[in-house]
């Protein structure tokens, strides 16, 4: 049995192989996540939705041990370079320790169920997990 699932955010596409989708300016190719009014780089008003590579490299990370009430800690927050497009995400399937998380580490997109609402619908978020190589 599979529960009905929805993406946690609009820029996550769950159908097929899960992947992220950016708003790309048709004028200057600047990429953004989320709803846009215009392009912050060139002022253009037209965008196309483009898929983002599902593998990448950790460009920066932190291990958060103090956060707002209700946020489970510790967790690893990172910026992942996905073939030239930067993505903010948590790293999962890795111990939250500097002995295990490395700058330059290769990672791949994965999904995480955030919770189920009163109608049994699961919200599915994305994160990155380490991969070989």
């Amino acid at each position: 049995m599979t529960a009905e699932q929805i993406p946690f955010v609009d820029h996550l596409e769950l159908a097929g192989e899960p992947h992220l989708v950016a708003e790309e300016c048709t004028g200057c190719a600047a990429r953004f996540f989320g709803r846009r009014n215009a392009c912050a780089s060139c002022g253009g008003r037209s965008f196309r939705r483009v898929p983002i590579a599902t593998t990448g490299e950790v460009r920066a990370f932190t291990i958060v041990t103090f956060a707002a009430p209700g946020v489970p800690v510790p967790f690893v927050a990172a910026v992942v370079d996905c073939a030239g497009t930067s993505v903010r995400a948590n790293l999962v399937d890795v111990p939250p320790s500097p002995d295990h998380v490395r700058l330059g580490m290769k990672v791949a997109l994965t999904t995480v169920v955030v919770g189920t609402d009163d109608e049994g619908v699961e919200a599915v978020n994305y994160a990155f997990r380490p991969v070989e190589g």
Binding site: I6, F8, V9, D10, H11, A30, R31, F32, F33, G34, R35, A40, S41, R59, A60, F61, T62, I63, V64, T65, F66, A67, A68, P69, G70, V71, P72, V73, F75, A77, A78, V79, G84, T85, S86, V87, R88, A89, N90, P98, R102, L103, G104, V114, G115, D117, D118, E119, V121, A123, N125, Y126
Partner: protein, 402 residues
């Protein structure tokens, strides 16, 4: 050519806990101190810019006037994150440069003792059914689920990105902790710092981890405090007494920038480009180069931030911040002393006051009035702040020729 601007009077309160004083008390103390320091009164002031970011005070400028002088002048209540104080100073500089006023007063004040972790909002209750909200169309809070919104975590990544880019990642934790060790050592000479305690590298690294690699003493201290400055132009200064002219400090450059679009800047804030842009403009305006600086007060909101700003302010070659630090240059007896006040990590960071307090620190050295922490013979200095979001203020100051 617009006339040169001068700091005529400047004052900061002690940073730390002020349980018996409210925002207006602290703003009054700083403002009356700056006016007295400059030998003027509220009657002389033609424009007031005031900042308070997190106090919910509303019109802090008018509240201040109601205690120290309601003279009917225009008031600009400004907000620009951690650059709020620098923005107030920049605002009066623009007014005087435009010829709209002869004397300007800029003040910043904050009460943050015991404020805890900034940049986070408590997670709200999950709804009964998923509802999309905000620009990302998220069905729940994203902090902690899609990276972090804590300041300590954001600036940790800023520092880690730098050491990764320039191949200095091994021992990054120890490197950042050593920067904090420097600032805590410097603070022991500053009676206005909230914390004046030397800390060993081992103590810093063993303290509570907030967001790796930043432990608690590597984070700016939430404190109460205020700072204020009186600014005048050449034409006004030349009418004043020899003593006032002797103690006036020249504002060789006053620059404010915001973050220009860069790839990834809406993913992890880019605190680098706008700082470099501000520094370039300030060096160009003043004719001063990084090598001329006798001291620098830069925005070490976290130890990880100080490192990148050595590079952004061009105190070293591009990519050379680690070597610059390891050479000992930013220690108070080094080639380019950085944060001899103790920096935000020990002096404290009452947000809206910070951008004027760092100008006070530099001005006090240029006047030769910094007591036991005086950088001998200081003639030129730079003060830098950055507010996430982002705004960057850079002021270059020079000792009076008189």
């Amino acid at each position: 050519m617009a006339e040169d601007l001068w700091i005529l009077g400047i004052h900061m309160t002690k940073f730390g806990k002020h349980p018996d004083e409210d925002l207006v008390d602290l703003a009054s103390e700083a403002s009356l101190g700056a006016l007295a320091d400059g030998g003027v009164t509220m009657r002389d002031i033609g424009v007031l810019a005031a900042g308070n970011l997190l106090g919910g005070a509303g019109s802090i400028g008018q509240q201040l006037q109601k205690q120290i002088g309601q003279t009917g002048i225009p008031v600009y209540n400004v907000a620009n994150a951690c650059a709020t104080g620098a923005t107030a100073l920049r605002t009066v500089c623009m007014a005087i440069k435009a010829g709209e006023a002869d004397y300007g007063l800029a003040v910043g004040v904050e009460k943050l003792s015991g404020a805890g972790l900034l940049g986070v909002r408590p997670r709200k209750q999950e709804p009964g059914t998923w509802t999309r909200e905000g620009r990302l169309g998220a069905v729940g809070p994203v902090d902690g689920r899609i990276g972090t919104e804590t300041m300590a975590g954001v600036f940790a990544q800023v520092g880690m990105e730098y050491v990764h880019r320039y191949g200095a990642a091994p021992n990054a934790f120890e490197l950042f902790a050593r920067i904090s060790e420097k600032n805590h050592a410097h603070s022991t000479l500053n009676p206005l710092a909230a914390y004046q305690k030397r800390m060993s590298l081992e103590q810093i690294m063993a303290d509570a981890m907030i967001a790796y690699p930043n432990t608690r003493p590597m984070c700016s201290a939430n404190t109460d405090g205020a700072a204020a400055a009186v600014v005048v132009g050449d034409s006004t200064l030349k009418r004043l007494s020899l003593e006032q002219r002797r103690r006036a400090v020249k504002i060789a450059a006053s620059v404010l920038t915001s973050d220009p679009w860069q790839e990834a800047c809406q993913v992890l804030p880019d605190v680098n480009t706008l700082t470099r842009n501000a520094a370039e403009q300030a060096y160009e305006l003043s004719g001063v180069g990084p090598g001329d600086l006798d001291l620098v007060e830069l925005h070490d909101c976290f130890a990880t931030a100080e490192l990148v700003h050595y590079d952004n302010l061009m105190l070293c070659e591009q990519g050379g911040a680690v070597d610059f630090f390891r050479s000992g240059a930013p220690w108070r007896d080094g080639a380019t002393p950085v944060n001899v006040s103790g920096g935000l990590q020990s002096k404290g960071h009452p947000i809206a006051a910070t951008g004027i307090a760092n100008v006070w620190e530099v001005a006090t050295h240029l006047r030769g009035e910094a007591g036991q922490r005086q950088i001998e013979g200081a003639r030129v200095g730079l003060a830098h702040v950055i507010g996430l979001g982002s705004a960057c203020g850079v002021h270059i100051l020079e000792k009076a020729a008189a």
